[in-house]
Protein backbone atom coordinates (compact mmCIF):
# COMPACT_ATOMS: atom_id res chain seq x y z
CA UNK A 1 0.00 0.00 0.00
CA UNK A 2 1.26 3.46 -0.90
CA UNK A 3 0.28 6.86 0.36
CA UNK A 4 -0.80 9.62 -1.98
CA UNK A 5 -0.86 13.21 -0.78
CA UNK A 6 -2.88 15.63 -2.89
CA UNK A 7 -2.84 19.31 -1.97
CA UNK A 8 -4.96 22.09 -3.41
CA UNK A 9 -4.23 25.78 -2.88
CA UNK A 10 -6.77 28.42 -3.85
CA UNK A 11 -5.73 32.07 -3.83
CA UNK A 12 -7.73 35.10 -4.85
CA UNK A 13 -7.32 38.69 -3.92
CA UNK A 14 -10.16 40.06 -5.98
CA UNK A 15 -13.04 37.59 -6.04
CA UNK A 16 -14.33 39.25 -2.88
CA UNK A 17 -13.19 41.76 -0.27
CA UNK A 18 -12.37 38.82 1.96
CA UNK A 19 -9.16 37.55 0.45
CA UNK A 20 -9.01 33.83 -0.22
CA UNK A 21 -5.84 31.99 0.53
CA UNK A 22 -6.06 28.45 1.78
CA UNK A 23 -4.64 25.02 1.22
CA UNK A 24 -6.25 21.66 1.82
CA UNK A 25 -4.44 18.37 1.81
CA UNK A 26 -5.39 14.74 2.17
CA UNK A 27 -3.75 11.39 2.72
CA UNK A 28 -5.04 8.64 0.46
CA UNK A 29 -4.25 4.96 0.43
CA UNK A 30 -3.51 3.52 -2.98
CA UNK A 31 -3.56 -0.26 -3.14
CA UNK A 32 -4.35 -1.23 -6.71
CA UNK A 33 -3.82 0.07 -10.24
CA UNK A 34 -1.90 3.24 -10.93
CA UNK A 35 -1.30 5.12 -14.13
CA UNK A 36 1.34 7.71 -13.38
CA UNK A 37 1.20 11.02 -15.25
CA UNK A 38 0.77 10.31 -18.94
CA UNK A 39 -0.33 12.21 -22.01
CA UNK A 40 -2.74 11.39 -24.79
CA UNK A 41 -3.73 13.34 -27.89
CA UNK A 42 -7.46 13.94 -28.03
CA UNK A 43 -9.65 14.47 -31.05
CA UNK A 44 -13.18 15.75 -31.48
CA UNK A 45 -14.50 12.21 -31.04
CA UNK A 46 -14.98 10.65 -27.62
CA UNK A 47 -12.02 8.75 -26.22
CA UNK A 48 -12.66 6.31 -23.39
CA UNK A 49 -9.96 7.47 -21.04
CA UNK A 50 -10.91 5.19 -18.15
CA UNK A 51 -13.31 2.29 -18.54
CA UNK A 52 -15.49 1.76 -15.50
CA UNK A 53 -15.13 -2.01 -15.68
CA UNK A 54 -11.36 -1.76 -15.24
CA UNK A 55 -11.36 0.14 -11.96
CA UNK A 56 -12.95 0.41 -8.56
CA UNK A 57 -12.84 3.47 -6.30
CA UNK A 58 -10.13 5.73 -7.69
CA UNK A 59 -8.78 9.26 -7.69
CA UNK A 60 -8.44 10.98 -11.05
CA UNK A 61 -6.16 13.81 -12.12
CA UNK A 62 -6.67 15.56 -15.47
CA UNK A 63 -4.92 18.56 -17.00
CA UNK A 64 -5.29 20.29 -20.32
CA UNK A 65 -1.76 20.95 -21.55
CA UNK A 66 -2.85 23.00 -24.54
CA UNK A 67 -2.57 26.79 -24.70
CA UNK A 68 -5.87 27.44 -26.42
CA UNK A 69 -8.08 24.42 -27.10
CA UNK A 70 -10.84 23.43 -24.68
CA UNK A 71 -11.40 19.82 -23.63
CA UNK A 72 -14.68 18.19 -22.60
CA UNK A 73 -14.85 15.44 -20.03
CA UNK A 74 -18.00 13.45 -19.42
CA UNK A 75 -19.19 10.39 -17.59
CA UNK A 76 -21.29 8.76 -20.25
CA UNK A 77 -23.93 11.05 -21.58
CA UNK A 78 -23.51 14.56 -20.25
CA UNK A 79 -20.69 17.04 -20.44
CA UNK A 80 -19.59 17.46 -16.87
CA UNK A 81 -16.15 19.01 -16.78
CA UNK A 82 -14.70 21.45 -19.23
CA UNK A 83 -10.97 22.06 -19.09
CA UNK A 84 -9.89 25.34 -20.62
CA UNK A 85 -6.26 25.87 -21.54
CA UNK A 86 -3.99 24.88 -18.67
CA UNK A 87 -6.79 23.92 -16.31
CA UNK A 88 -6.84 20.79 -14.16
CA UNK A 89 -9.30 18.67 -12.18
CA UNK A 90 -8.89 16.24 -9.31
CA UNK A 91 -11.78 14.18 -8.02
CA UNK A 92 -12.75 10.82 -6.54
CA UNK A 93 -14.36 8.46 -9.03
CA UNK A 94 -16.45 5.47 -8.04
CA UNK A 95 -16.13 3.94 -11.54
CA UNK A 96 -19.87 4.12 -11.97
CA UNK A 97 -19.45 5.03 -15.63
CA UNK A 98 -16.71 5.43 -18.21
CA UNK A 99 -14.74 8.67 -18.26
CA UNK A 100 -14.72 10.06 -21.78
CA UNK A 101 -12.62 12.89 -23.17
CA UNK A 102 -12.61 14.87 -26.38
CA UNK A 103 -11.31 18.16 -27.69
CA UNK A 104 -13.25 21.10 -29.06
CA UNK A 105 -10.91 21.05 -32.06
CA UNK A 106 -7.52 19.80 -33.15
CA UNK A 107 -5.47 17.24 -31.29
CA UNK A 108 -4.44 18.79 -27.97
CA UNK A 109 -2.76 16.71 -25.30
CA UNK A 110 -4.50 15.72 -22.10
CA UNK A 111 -2.33 14.86 -19.13
CA UNK A 112 -3.91 12.25 -16.89
CA UNK A 113 -3.25 10.00 -13.94
CA UNK A 114 -5.37 7.59 -11.94
CA UNK A 115 -4.81 6.07 -8.52
CA UNK A 116 -7.00 3.16 -7.49
CA UNK A 117 -7.72 2.97 -3.78
Amino acid sequence: MATLTPTLTLVSTDASSDEINFSVTDSLNVTKNVISPSKVALSTGDLTLFAAASYTKSYVYLRNTDDTIVMDIDFGTQLSIQLAAGEFAFFPWESSGNILAKSASGTPYLEYAIFEA
Binding site: L10, A15, S16, I20, V34, S96
Partner: protein, 145 residues
Protein backbone atom coordinates in the same frame (compact mmCIF):
# COMPACT_ATOMS: atom_id res chain seq x y z
CA UNK B 1 -4.76 40.16 -9.37
CA UNK B 2 -6.27 36.87 -10.18
CA UNK B 3 -7.76 33.74 -8.79
CA UNK B 4 -5.38 30.83 -9.02
CA UNK B 5 -5.64 27.15 -8.22
CA UNK B 6 -2.53 25.09 -7.61
CA UNK B 7 -2.35 21.36 -7.14
CA UNK B 8 0.43 19.10 -6.01
CA UNK B 9 0.16 15.34 -5.82
CA UNK B 10 3.02 13.49 -4.24
CA UNK B 11 3.93 10.07 -2.98
CA UNK B 12 7.23 8.75 -1.68
CA UNK B 13 6.39 5.10 -2.22
CA UNK B 14 3.90 4.78 -5.06
CA UNK B 15 6.31 4.27 -7.95
CA UNK B 16 9.18 1.82 -7.98
CA UNK B 17 12.52 3.54 -8.11
CA UNK B 18 11.34 7.05 -7.46
CA UNK B 19 8.86 9.34 -5.87
CA UNK B 20 5.79 10.81 -7.53
CA UNK B 21 5.48 14.59 -7.80
CA UNK B 22 2.81 16.29 -9.88
CA UNK B 23 2.53 20.06 -9.79
CA UNK B 24 0.22 22.29 -11.79
CA UNK B 25 -1.25 25.74 -11.49
CA UNK B 26 -4.06 27.45 -13.35
CA UNK B 27 -5.46 30.94 -13.41
CA UNK B 28 -9.22 30.80 -13.22
CA UNK B 29 -10.93 33.15 -15.63
CA UNK B 30 -14.32 34.08 -16.94
CA UNK B 31 -15.78 31.92 -19.63
CA UNK B 32 -13.94 32.18 -22.90
CA UNK B 33 -11.92 35.22 -21.92
CA UNK B 34 -8.89 36.05 -19.85
CA UNK B 35 -10.68 38.40 -17.44
CA UNK B 36 -10.46 37.63 -13.76
CA UNK B 37 -13.33 36.00 -11.94
CA UNK B 38 -15.20 38.44 -9.77
CA UNK B 39 -17.95 36.39 -8.15
CA UNK B 40 -17.76 33.55 -5.68
CA UNK B 41 -19.82 31.80 -3.05
CA UNK B 42 -18.38 29.79 -0.20
CA UNK B 43 -19.55 28.27 3.01
CA UNK B 44 -19.82 25.36 5.40
CA UNK B 45 -22.92 23.16 5.35
CA UNK B 46 -24.14 20.34 7.56
CA UNK B 47 -25.80 17.66 5.45
CA UNK B 48 -28.26 15.15 6.84
CA UNK B 49 -28.68 11.80 5.16
CA UNK B 50 -31.61 10.81 3.01
CA UNK B 51 -31.81 13.78 0.67
CA UNK B 52 -29.96 14.64 -2.49
CA UNK B 53 -29.09 18.31 -2.49
CA UNK B 54 -28.05 20.68 -5.24
CA UNK B 55 -24.84 22.59 -4.65
CA UNK B 56 -24.38 25.80 -6.57
CA UNK B 57 -26.79 27.46 -8.96
CA UNK B 58 -28.58 26.07 -11.97
CA UNK B 59 -27.33 27.07 -15.38
CA UNK B 60 -30.33 29.36 -15.80
CA UNK B 61 -29.36 31.13 -12.58
CA UNK B 62 -26.18 32.27 -14.25
CA UNK B 63 -26.01 34.74 -17.10
CA UNK B 64 -23.80 35.03 -20.12
CA UNK B 65 -23.83 33.40 -23.49
CA UNK B 66 -21.33 30.76 -22.54
CA UNK B 67 -20.82 30.04 -18.88
CA UNK B 68 -19.54 26.53 -19.39
CA UNK B 69 -15.91 27.25 -18.66
CA UNK B 70 -16.32 30.04 -16.16
CA UNK B 71 -17.41 27.89 -13.24
CA UNK B 72 -15.20 26.10 -10.75
CA UNK B 73 -16.17 24.16 -7.69
CA UNK B 74 -14.21 22.96 -4.70
CA UNK B 75 -15.76 20.62 -2.12
CA UNK B 76 -14.13 19.15 0.96
CA UNK B 77 -15.72 16.71 3.38
CA UNK B 78 -14.76 18.02 6.82
CA UNK B 79 -16.37 15.12 8.63
CA UNK B 80 -14.10 13.57 11.21
CA UNK B 81 -16.42 11.61 13.46
CA UNK B 82 -16.70 8.41 11.54
CA UNK B 83 -14.67 7.02 8.66
CA UNK B 84 -17.78 5.31 7.29
CA UNK B 85 -19.45 8.62 6.53
CA UNK B 86 -19.08 10.07 3.07
CA UNK B 87 -20.61 12.34 0.49
CA UNK B 88 -21.78 11.05 -2.86
CA UNK B 89 -21.26 13.66 -5.54
CA UNK B 90 -22.57 13.67 -9.06
CA UNK B 91 -23.63 15.64 -12.07
CA UNK B 92 -26.80 15.21 -14.09
CA UNK B 93 -28.25 12.44 -11.94
CA UNK B 94 -25.05 10.43 -12.30
CA UNK B 95 -23.20 9.54 -9.12
CA UNK B 96 -19.54 10.01 -9.90
CA UNK B 97 -17.58 9.65 -6.70
CA UNK B 98 -17.41 9.61 -2.93
CA UNK B 99 -15.74 12.10 -0.66
CA UNK B 100 -14.76 10.41 2.58
CA UNK B 101 -13.62 12.27 5.68
CA UNK B 102 -10.97 14.76 4.67
CA UNK B 103 -11.28 14.12 0.93
CA UNK B 104 -11.57 17.07 -1.43
CA UNK B 105 -12.23 17.68 -5.10
CA UNK B 106 -11.77 20.53 -7.54
CA UNK B 107 -13.24 20.68 -11.03
CA UNK B 108 -13.93 23.22 -13.72
CA UNK B 109 -17.65 22.60 -13.91
CA UNK B 110 -19.43 22.49 -17.25
CA UNK B 111 -22.76 24.06 -16.31
CA UNK B 112 -24.13 23.65 -19.79
CA UNK B 113 -27.78 23.44 -18.75
CA UNK B 114 -29.93 22.97 -15.67
CA UNK B 115 -29.62 19.20 -15.87
CA UNK B 116 -25.89 19.55 -15.27
CA UNK B 117 -26.44 20.54 -11.65
CA UNK B 118 -23.97 19.43 -8.98
CA UNK B 119 -25.65 16.94 -6.65
CA UNK B 120 -24.43 15.85 -3.24
CA UNK B 121 -25.86 13.40 -0.72
CA UNK B 122 -24.58 12.47 2.73
CA UNK B 123 -24.23 8.78 3.54
CA UNK B 124 -23.74 7.03 6.86
CA UNK B 125 -24.79 10.00 8.98
CA UNK B 126 -24.59 13.76 9.04
CA UNK B 127 -21.61 15.10 7.10
CA UNK B 128 -20.14 18.59 7.13
CA UNK B 129 -18.73 20.01 3.95
CA UNK B 130 -17.01 23.21 3.02
CA UNK B 131 -17.23 24.48 -0.49
CA UNK B 132 -16.14 27.33 -2.70
CA UNK B 133 -17.82 28.08 -5.96
CA UNK B 134 -16.42 30.55 -8.48
CA UNK B 135 -18.46 31.85 -11.33
CA UNK B 136 -18.61 34.69 -13.82
CA UNK B 137 -22.22 35.68 -13.52
CA UNK B 138 -24.59 34.73 -10.72
CA UNK B 139 -28.18 35.87 -10.96
CA UNK B 140 -30.03 36.23 -7.68
CA UNK B 141 -33.46 34.57 -7.54
CA UNK B 142 -36.36 36.91 -8.13
CA UNK B 143 -38.14 37.88 -4.94
CA UNK B 144 -41.36 35.95 -4.31
CA UNK B 145 -43.34 39.10 -3.63
Amino acid sequence: MATTATISISSPDLLPGGSLSINASATLTKAGVTADLDQKESGVIKLATGTEFRLGPLATEMSGDVHDIGSYIYICNNTTEDATRYIDWGINETMIGRLYAGDWMFIPWNASDDAAEIEIEAQGGTNIIEYCFFNSDFILPTAAS
